[in-house]
Amino acid sequence: MGIKVAKTANEAFAEGMRQINPDVVAAYPITPATEIVQIFSQFVADGLVKTEFIQVESEHSAMSACIGASAAGARAMTGTSSQGLAFMWEMLYIASGLRLPIIMAVVNRALSSPINIHCDHSDTFGARDSGWIQIYSENVQETYDNLIQGVRIAEHPEVKLPCMIMTDGFILSHCLETLEMLTDQEVQEFIGVPPERENLIKSAIENKPITIGALDLQDYYFERKRQQAEGMKNALKIIPEIGKEFGDKFGRYYGFVEDYKLEDADIGIVVIGSTAGTAKEVVDNLRKKGVKAGLLKIRILRPLPVEDIKNSLKNLKVVGVMDRVEGMNAFCGPLYSEITACLYDLDKKPLLTNFVYGLGGRDVKIEDIETIFNELITVLEKGKKDFTLKYIGVRE
């Protein structure tokens, strides 16, 4: 078994990448994700990995290089954040459309403008419909575990989709925490040899040339997209299987979501990322006072685990969805929309409210979460809601 070490999420990403030992890494630095490739490039220089490390002049090129490498059959990885991810935009869709299982470590950071280097989820929420699998992490341990599972999920023959693994900028990327690392051998055994798939090198060796990325107009585009959607649907089956296998081997089990004290809860919040940990403290405090509070942490946002979300929330009376993103639709945050869609078909469903919080790294305190739960208690007592969205921790 592994050993307990002190690592930041950036270090955990880099160590995980070293243990995965990908064929190609192409990356461009950006705060707060810079350390990932900085540390990894040292591993390359020290000869600890066999990786071809490609220094590129932009994130657009980083993703392009990963696409080329992956199309050639390589296990390709990169890492980025915020504006860097935004700059990759068109290539994100090409990676998923070509069904290339590229792995990307993403450190969540607010998008400009105003320019800001701290955490919110605007960057990856913008990419949620790009056809990538999205896995979010609560702490350094999950960041590491998710990266390793991400490889298996992305490469699974029934999935074949790129996968981004998220961690919260600075809050986790630069926070030294206790991490139980697996041994190099355990990681290698778990990820295994990449399953065979069509690729350029294979086609050249077999002398059966193929074209990747050809034009599909009205005749085939739709069918190709329909197949791609099927890959995402298949991920719904594969992700829990891999989460269970990981748990059976290493003792830490992973599903789509984490239910925390929801079983008999009247009120609960839905949350993503590091805030989930802080909120669990609040749930425990409320439980001590006799309040039936609970929490649903979303680990997988793409594919959207509709059945799990439904099952977790169906018996609650009031739910508060926490969005670390401003939806800019003059109505609600994006996670609220998704959760609402999940619950709409239920005959009996909870009253649903939305709280936008923590934009640009605004600290999320215990008291902020208590404020949200107090709002939920008020709605519970009244039996109806008189608002959809409230902002938490903002001056106005």
Partner: protein, 192 residues
């Protein structure tokens, strides 16, 4: 020990406030504790006020918000009192203030009007005499260990030796200097 013990480090950019939090966190981890160590990131410049934090617990730490009411405040540079409120959020009854200064605890109390527990040690002098440079972060770790008893002196010396052995493998005198600094601050810190 409290369920979660929280520390805030004040320093100036370049004095090693971040490194101190990382080293101290790592040393605590080596004794089986769960830890967090994180700096507060802003526009950093050499000499500008900087802050870093530790959480130490005997069980896994879930909270990920900033630290507002630390149990201990460690001040690496006493001239900071002109610019920042080093006692912010520090409880006068239970909070502990540890300052790098040649002054006595009573002199500090009167100067900053904080009448809780105050400890002082001349970590800069110790650093110059042992390491050869004014880097007060490692000696302050020695003083912190003495006051909080989170670790023993042996534990922090062993862990620091291990950590520095990697970083300064070609400069053994730096390692010895740092260890001496920790031990001297441990013995020389004074207060309530």
């Amino acid at each position: 020990m409290k369920e979660i013990f929280e520390i805030r480090w004040h320093g100036r950019g370049g004095q090693g406030a971040k490194t101190a939090a990382l080293l101290f966190g790592d040393a605590c981890l080596s004794t089986g504790k769960y830890i967090q160590a994180f700096p507060e990131y802003g526009p950093e410049r050499m000499g500008a006020p900087v802050v870093s934090f530790n959480r130490i617990s005997s069980s896994p730490i879930r909270i990920h918000s900033g630290i507002e009411n630390p149990d201990v405040v460690v001040v690496l540079d006493f001239t900071l009192i002109e610019q920042v409120n080093i006692c912010e959020g520090l409880d006068e009854k239970n909070g502990i203030l540890l300052v790098n200064t040649p002054l006595s605890p009573d002199e500090i109390k009167n100067k900053i009007k904080f009448f809780g527990k105050v400890y002082t040690v001349d970590a800069s002098k110790i650093a110059i005499e042992t390491i050869g440079r004014n880097i007060p972060n490692t000696p302050m770790m020695g003083a912190l260990v003495k006051i909080t008893k989170i670790l023993t002196l042996e534990e922090v010396l062993n862990d620091t030796r291990k950590k520095l052995a990697v970083k300064f493998r070609n400069k053994p005198e730096v390692i010895e200097g740092n260890l001496k600094a920790i031990e001297r601050a441990y013995n020389e810190v004074k207060g309530d």
